[in-house]
């Protein structure tokens, strides 16, 4: 029997159940995306967030509508969590005109000005210096926004990571750096890529606080992100969080995954599923019941289905859409087309 006034980490039962729902939604949404990709409805590359749901949910729960979020190509979940309609995300995956970028961005490019979502980016680590710039602009304009930047363990190896952290620390910018260390960058194990065994020396090198967090525990992520967001909002500068997680699927939809064993994958999926861990905790503490989880899951499944239906029934962008948005008046892109047609 659930206790209606139970709390965990200062979160109400309603909030906790909402977090559970969001985790379920991201899971079901990605499963649906995978299905549609296999059906040939989605083209290009697609990178699923399955296994990492606790990271996005635990952290973005702390953000306000005016806060900013940047991510990598593994960003469908971040966009949904920042308020993007699953329908709109799915339509973008399908390349339909009802997508957030009118179908012109595709899987790696979820952008929304109103929601403060700045991608999705096809270039690893490109979002890192941009995050410092957004935070600078917020500060300069007297806005109290926090910029939250998600990236992988591989992105840490790019120069852009180091440049961004140094600048953000030097200028005391309101950035929360969220490294989702899922232990592989494509086929490269983090142990083979990093000269250090954690990000903590990197945080120290740029004179900012750092924390290592269990990314399969949504509450741990929530608490660490809360501290970092508060520091940023209070003008105390950036924080680097290293969130340890695992992607349950391949790097993208075509990944034979030679670089890790099936046993390792099973071990994570069976014993460290972030949704399962959260459910167990909520149940053990008498906060929620299996029936409520099932309800959430059924709703999530339905929303994912609906998103796919919406995407499927949306129109393709007109070919002429290709020539818009290159520059303000589209003149450079258009001149040639006229000539050719």
């Amino acid at each position: 029997m659930a206790i209606s006034n139970a709390t965990l980490a200062g979160l109400t039962r309603t909030q906790l159940l909402e977090m559970h729902y969001m985790m379920s939604l991201l899971r079901r949404f990605e499963e649906k995306s995978a299905e549609e990709y296999t059906r040939g409805k989605i083209g290009g590359f697609m990178h699923l967030y399955i296994g990492q749901e606790a990271v996005g949910v635990g952290s973005i729960t702390n953000l306000l509508p005016e806060d900013r979020v940047l991510s990598s190509y593994r960003e469908h979940g971040h966009a949904i969590l920042k308020g993007m309609e699953p329908r709109v995300v799915m339509a973008e995956l399908f390349g339909k005109s009802t997508g957030c970028s009118k179908g012109k961005g595709g899987s790696m490019h979820m952008w929304s000005n109103e929601l403060g979502v700045y991608g999705g980016n096809g270039i690893v680590a490109a979002q890192l210096p941009m995050a410092a710039g957004l935070a600078f602009a917020a500060q300069y304009q007297g806005l109290n926004n926090v910029t939250m930047c998600f990236f992988g363990d591989g992105a840490v190896d790019e120069g852009a990571f180091h440049e961004s952290l140094n600048l953000a620390s030097l200028w005391k910018l309101p950035v929360v750096y969220m490294c989702e260390n899922n232990q592989y960058s494509m086929g490269m194990a983090v142990a083979k890529a990093w000269a250090v065994d954690s990000l903590m020396p990197r945080a120290a090198a740029y004179n900012m606080p750092g924390e290592q967090v269990d990314g399969m525990d949504v509450i741990a992520v929530y608490e660490a992100a809360l501290r970092a967001v508060e520091r940023a909002r209070n003008g105390e500068g950036p924080t680097l969080l290293e969130i340890k997680t695992y992607r349950f699927r391949g790097h993208s939809m075509t990944d034979p995954a030679y670089y890790r064993t099936r046993e390792e994958e099973h071990e994570w999926r069976n014993t460290r599923d972030p949704i399962g861990i959260f459910e167990k905790r909520l149940q053990e503490q008498g906060i929620a019941t299996q029936a409520e989880f099932d309800q959430n899951d059924a709703r999530a499944t339905q929303v994912a289905e609906d998103a796919a239906d919406f995407a499927e029934n949306s129109p393709d962008p007109a070919p002429a859409e290709l020539f818009t948005g290159v520059m303000v008046d589209n003149s450079t892109a258009l001149s040639f087309r006229r000539e050719r047609e």
Binding site: G159, M186, E321, V326, F336
Partner: protein, 325 residues
């Protein structure tokens, strides 16, 4: 042996590693995983981690260190996973690799090969489909090679490795596995800077490279059948330095020229070839030069790429126009 372009490139790399101890091969995921497209498959097994190795995700670091290696006696062959990621290491490529020889008055050279998959047609998104060759035309010091078939790929890669200067070796993604061609298993080389007349003709010359060679050939066949037009198809093989003699000789013969490339039109290889024709054989021209290219937009998403890319039909339109048919 019948090989795909992947197999031909793999064979070339294996032979270079075998022939020359100075050769090292590295990049992201190229070791045990054999690279995104499996071009380097099994090489680490055969030649060891000392000579075929993975790097962390750091394109600028990959190119920068390979320059150091090349200057100091090695022959690095590095892979950048997609040509679009070359932008991440532009400083090392353009400001450094290309200028080492000039800057040191020849005291140092930079015999480096940068391999990168490029081009569209397999539903990959922007920066994973872009054709960047023209960006490097404004980078004196680099050679730019773009093979159109397995046989050429292998022979040209051998020459690229032997070349004393940095070579950007662009491999068309669509061509990787789309067909096989007879390719010797042993070592051979095809000279850089020399175009190949793939099909002789008398009415009009089409200049192409990479995946566009087959597009041109298809259009040429159709033009012959439907209109009796005799099309000469020239595969540039190397887009820098351009084989100006081959271009001029062909246009002097046919009097008409069409250039086909998937990169955007403005400032592209087509523009450079047009200028070469103007300088070398303007008075041989019977008609204005035609260009069939990608549009001047970023590379589109999968759903629009068929519309974006040059096709045999688009080349046919250009052929009809230039032949006044």
């Amino acid at each position: 042996m019948q090989m795909t372009m992947i197999e031909a490139l793999n064979s070339a790399l294996a032979l270079e590693l075998e022939r020359d101890r100075r050769v090292v091969v590295f990049g992201e995921d190229i070791g045990a995983n054999g690279g995104v497209f499996r071009v380097t498959e099994h090489l680490q097994n055969k030649f060891g981690e000392e000579r075929v190795f993975d790097t962390p995700l750091a394109e600028s670091g990959i190119i920068g260190t390979s320059i150091g290696m090349a200057i100091y006696g090695l022959r690095p062959i590095v892979e950048i996973q997609f040509a679009g990621f070359l932008f991440v290491c532009m400083n090392q490529l353009v400001s450094q690799a290309a200028r080492i020889r000039f800057r040191s008055a020849g005291a140092y050279t930079c015999p480096l090969v940068v391999r990168a998959p490029y081009g569209g047609g397999v539903r990959t998104p922007e920066l994973h489909s872009d054709s960047l060759e023209a960006v490097f035309l404004q980078t004196p010091g680099f050679k730019i090679v773009v093979p159109s078939n397995p046989y050429d790929a292998k022979g040209l890669l051998a020459s690229a490795v032997e070349d004393p200067d940095p070579v950007l070796f662009l491999e068309n993604i669509k061509l990787y596995r789309s067909f096989r061609a007879e390719t010797p298993t042993e070592h051979y080389s095809i000279p850089l800077g020399k175009a190949n007349v793939v099909q002789e003709g008398t009415d009009v010359s089409i200049f192409a490279y990479g995946a566009m060679v087959n597009v041109a050939l298809e259009a040429a066949k159709q033009a012959q059948q439907e209109t009796g037009t005799s099309v000469e198809v020239i595969d540039l093989r190397t887009v820098w330095p351009l084989d100006e003699d081959a271009i001029a000789a062909s246009v002097e013969k046919t009097g008409r020229a069409i250039i086909v490339h998937e990169a955007p039109r403005a400032g592209g290889i087509g523009a450079e070839i047009t200028a070469v024709i103007n300088e070398r054989c303007f008075y041989s021209l019977l008609k204005p030069i035609g260009r069939v290219t990608g549009y001047d937009t970023p590379y589109p998403v999968p759903g629009q790429e068929d519309y974006y890319l040059p096709t045999p039909a688009k080349v046919m339109t250009a052929l009809r126009e230039i032949m006044e048919l």
